[in-house]
Symmetry: C2
Subunit: 491 residues, 2 copies
């Protein structure tokens, strides 16, 4: 008997940890803080990659690959960057092992010590801008619109599958421009690309905005972000896009000759999303029965399960199932037909429910007689019988309906969890009860932001693009404010 | 004036090094032995990845992702593997940096020393088999057919772009099977998958065979390989597939319950190809003018270059070029139209010749009058004029012809460089003159193989599958032999 999944209301955190493992998305490895992304989880990540990569290319970007290692001295070149990044890193100090002279396995060869330590990249701005110096001389070489798919390492003390791991997979875009205006447009464009992807494919509504100064990326002048809300009322930053000004161009001496012949520093952006999105996907849609996947990202959109008592029945069902599978595939639907005889139908029902397959089609002996099938949708758990020859037209529209329903459900929840708050007592109380985004006035100072964080653990998630101007008083200090910002506890 | 490419006859090695950089494939980075794969080079790698990934999936494999780091102790578990791999590795010893108390940048925090050192993966058998122990209990869990796309690090002393770099990109398949027979079939199947890819897409003929014992992968019982021949007569191993027996299952205690209820160790394979293939691609087809790319892997199969004296002419050419581009794209041909006014036509001709674009179409003012275009193919450098409306049908068949021509040319060269040799003096002489594969009798001992390597630097590249049985005498010792093997100097 399989282990039962903990309920969300009982322990949301435990529910998440169990679900990621039980649904075969990922598991912890023998290496502290590093996860194994299992085939089913990786198949979802591949679908995300494919769609994002397409969007990047449609907006003129190309992929490249830069070294995993970064010499320690590179980090010291951009002052604010080193403070934000270079501390909790994996440090390579030696390049050889040898047999232990005492015969106890292998040991580090102390003679093979690197002259300069190498850092396993926590992000690649420094090594990339060191390269761009060679690529960029003239305005003809600009813009440089490069993206990299890579693994990165940040030595986190407390890790959780997908949400915070020492090693994770991501993409990092790094662009170089001739003008400030163009770089700002690029950073904003990529924030929009992320928002479209997360909303249309992951079915997760997001709020677009900019970060407050203290939440900005180390080295950025402006950080654009998309913020999502999980089912426990905590926010999750789903993607960021940074306007880096000329900071890295100055640190790495990247200049170009303009059309007018002047020598100028290049303007930069960087932007990234990571396997963290997998965590957001799980926490937004899934329920106490298991994973719920939006059809646009499900490795299998439909699973067909035969219900049979003997081989003869199975052969008859095989024939019908294959027909249905073919007609659905012809319409671009991905279908798995699970006719393994090593597992019972009940086991399969549980398995695909746990794995969040959007639509399940079951075919039994009675269906053969009547020419029907049972179609069940994972999101609402509703089932219905229908004529076999209707399936081909019904399922594609059902998949669209599920995709839309998941988004709208998440949107309703999210919109129901944005609360305007004007006094600090209510603010504190709401954080511990309803949670969600608290829309409040703030006096604009880092000191106030820090103090609110110390008192409540809530941070400013973003200053939304679509915020309206209004007079108000800071939730903590009462100092004047011209707009509300969104506070929340966050992952 | 751009730097001129060294001729192959003058200095083949220099020609290669220059070409990789000049054609924008890759360049050295600020990190010893680690390369930057530039966008044009990466675009070719992406095409390789896409095709290989498709072939892996068609043969039932799924992708997953395992940690970058491997605890040092894991390597000690499989005795032959540790000797082959664990020595020249990047070793992570610390996980934190701190500000230098003397104010000189950042230093390693000696308090943040890892209890056990972590090795940056040189290959992933150990960490993967440590994981498979958790995945495999019953025959129902088998086979496990997993592939990983990843970066790996081997601390090579002498490095060359693509051919031998400290960090490189690759895919590594790791499969687990219930029977020896099934694992052997898998290893052989993947060798065939590689051969088909390299021949059909890279247009490189390969010889399939098995490695001699001393050239086998560390931990393998049999290594299947495909061997290609470069234009300088040196061989290059283009892909390997290993039958690992039960070695890793025993080292990591991976057992399964068979249908009959017995507890047995699992059988294993692993197989991989890497960015090294990029080196093979360059060295097989390219010439003294630059890169020559097979159409099946070219990022742009066709480039259209306008030749114009003024804006009015350009506008007219734009119109025609756009028509041609559309009609070719509709036929699945990838086309770039380069109508930049920042670069002259002559510069563009050179650039796309250097970058190996298979077909160039030029349109000038006279072409507009006559309704013609000039079509040039990169492989033979032949040019011809033709009516604009013929292009749409001509170019797709020309691309097929180029693909085939490149393969046949390489095949002719390769077949002309397999020489049967029966005495050691001729063997030594040929290695220094014609080179290529030398087909010789060998007494089957490691001692003889080692001695030949010491004397000549030539190694046994493979024992071909299609070798015929014949009586003969070992080229070095004169001891009896039943079949010829292929010797060569190799990359």
């Amino acid at each position: 008997m399989a282990k039962k999944l903990t309920n969300r209301t009982e322990d949301y955190s435990k529910w998440y940890n169990e679900l990621v493992v039980m649904a075969d998305l990922a598991e912890n490895s023998g290496v502290r803080g590093c996860m194994v992304i299992k085939p089913y989880g990786y198949a979802i990540w591949e679908k995300m990659q494919a769609e994002l990569d397409k969007k990047f290319k449609e907006t003129g970007h190309v992929n490249a690959y830069f070294p995993l290692f970064i010499p320690k001295s590179y980090f010291s070149k951009e002052a604010s960057h080193v403070d934000g990044f270079a501390k909790e890193c994996a440090v390579v100090t030696h390049y050889r092992l040898k047999n232990d002279p005492n015969g106890k396995g292998i040991v580090v060869d102390e003679e093979a010590k690197l002259e300069e330590e190498l850092i396993v990249r926590p992000t690649s701005e420094t090594i990339i801008w060191d390269t761009y110096r060679k690529w960029i001389q003239s305005y003809r070489d600009l813009p440089v619109l490069v993206n990299q798919w890579a693994n990165v390492v940040r030595w986190e003390m407390r890790t959780r599958l997908f949400l915070r791991t020492a090693e994770f997979l991501w993409q990092e875009g790094h662009t170089a421009h001739a003008t400030k205006q163009e770089a700002l447009q690029e950073a904003e464009q990529m924030c929009n690309v992320y928002a479209d992807f997360v909303q249309d494919f992951m079915a997760i509504p997001v709020i677009k905005g900019v970060k407050s100064e203290s939440e900005r990326f180390a080295g950025a002048l402006e950080t654009y972000c998309i913020e999502a809300l999980m089912q426990d009322g905590k926010a999750l930053q789903a993607g960021t896009s940074h306007f880096l000004g000329q900071n890295f161009a100055k640190a790495f001496d990247v200049k170009f000759q303009s059309k007018e012949g002047a020598l100028e520093h290049v303007w930069a952006t960087s932007w990234g999303v990571s396997t963290r999105l997998m965590g957001a996907l799980v926490m937004t849609h899934s329920d106490d029965h298991g994973l719920v996947l939006p059809p646009n990202l499900a490795p299998w959109q439909v699973v067909i399960v035969p219900i049979h008592r003997n081989d003869e029945q199975l052969a008859q069902i095989d024939e019908k199932a294959t027909e249905i599978m073919k007609s659905l595939r012809a319409k671009g639907v991905s279908v798995k037909y699970d006719n393994r005889t090593t597992h019972k139908p009940g086991w399969k029902f549980n398995e695909y429910e746990l794995k969040g397959v959007p639509v399940r089609i079951a075919i039994g002996p009675k269906d053969l007689e009547k020419g029907t099938v049972e179609v069940a949708r994972r999101d609402t758990l509703e089932k219905q019988f229908m004529a076999m020859d209707e399936v081909e037209n019904f399922v594609p529209s059902l998949l669209n309906e599920i995709q839309e329903h998941l988004f709208n459900k998440a949107l309703d929840y999210r919109d129901g969890h944005i609360t305007e708050v004007d006094d600090f007592e209510t603010f504190k109380e709401l954080l511990n009860t309803k949670a969600g985004f608290l829309s409040c006035h703030w006096d604009g100072t880092i000191a106030t932001e820090d103090k609110i964080k110390d008192l409540t653990k809530a941070t400013i998630r973003c200053i939304p693009f679509d915020v309206k101007e209004e007079e108000g008083k800071c939730i903590l200090t009462g100092a004047p404010s011209k707009r509300r910002v969104l506070f929340a506890k966050a992952y």
